[in-house]
Symmetry: C2
Subunit: 201 residues, 2 copies
């Protein structure tokens, strides 16, 4: 059985739990407290030198890090990753958008605000992350206008990756009221059969 090195409040980890559940893949999980350095111990760094969860541990003991790489690995050969080459490339495009333009802004502000982690260095970063997070939401709003899903006409791992932190963006004090198209898409993803919330193990 696969084992997920996990954190229950992390959207990056939630992506993987959601996909594993949707695919009916059984898994066990190990919880880490990110803010207490539990992913920076020598033992953890043997799983992922970059010191972050999620890490997927295969049954044979091999480790795979980076949430979106794990999504692609699990989704290959399933309907969550299109078989057609260009459609698949568009899914990858949105996965890189998520990690570069969305997560560092929206997920980070949510984390700092939710857990009261705003020190002086971080406080100086808030305005830039607020601006860039709204810019990412604006890109999503414009792309989804006239579309039900990010790529093609069914849910893919692009939707799963972008759902993870968008649906909790208000915990980072982003006002989703300005993004009606995004909110309809969030409701559509949450209504998918087999959907699980972020807090479910």
């Amino acid at each position: 059985m696969v084992r997920l090195h996990d954190n229950l409040t992390s959207g990056n980890c939630y992506k993987v739990r959601l996909l594993l559940t949707r695919l009916g893949i059984p898994f066990t999980r190990v919880e880490y407290d990110i803010d207490r350095g539990e992913t920076r111990t020598p033992e953890f760094l043997r799983k992922n030198l970059n010191g972050r969860v999620p890490v997927l541990e295969l049954a044979d003991g091999r480790f795979l890090a980076e949430s979106n790489a794990i999504l692609i690995y699990l989704a290959e050969g399933t309907a969550f990753l299109p078989a057609e080459r260009f459609e698949r490339a568009l899914v990858l495009q949105w996965l890189f958008f998520e990690q570069y333009s969305h997560e560092p802004n929206i997920a980070t502000l949510r984390h700092w605000i939710t857990f009261n982690l705003l020190d002086d260095e971080r406080r100086s970063l808030v305005a830039g992350k607020r601006r860039d997070g709204y810019a990412a939401l604006e890109v999503m709003e414009r792309h989804l206008d006239g579309r039900d899903y990010f790529v093609g006409n069914r849910i893919s791992i692009a939707d799963i990756a972008l759902y993870a932190y968008t649906h909790v963006a208000e915990q980072g004090e982003f006002d989703l009221g300005r993004f009606p198209v995004v909110r309809r898409w969030l409701a559509r993803i949450a209504a998918e059969p087999g959907h699980i919330p972020i807090t479910r193990e």
Copy 2:
């Protein structure tokens, strides 16, 4: 023929030119001045809503954005992306590492320093990016110790993606003298047959 919407100093664009050249795929290119807003015009946003280069334009007029998604698209079915599922996933892991932990620190400082773009907001970000950029180089140094390439025993798009901004990290005032393993790997990639420098069109 494919057309690359491009910028000659951008490492993200260079990755794509290097892979296209290595694969023997002919292409034309259109140059954009990023700092003059040429990738934020309404016309450009029809190619990529996120307003960034590179964008690959296929012969049929479809557009693909995000440098590492373009690398995967071009490398599929070639030796630059392993056929074995887990090895391929490891390549993807390093591509996401590059965009999340490496590029935002090392590429961004290089860009600001090279083009004299350090205003007050950016100046407040330098120390954090310096620390996180060195952390990314340290991960690379430890991973490459005992290895010739990031994944397996030949060059892949993981090496191409990470080469792009690492080989010019000193332009961002990162001291590569501290990373002898990384420097040997850089020399190994530069000595590959068909390698081109960043400034070649």
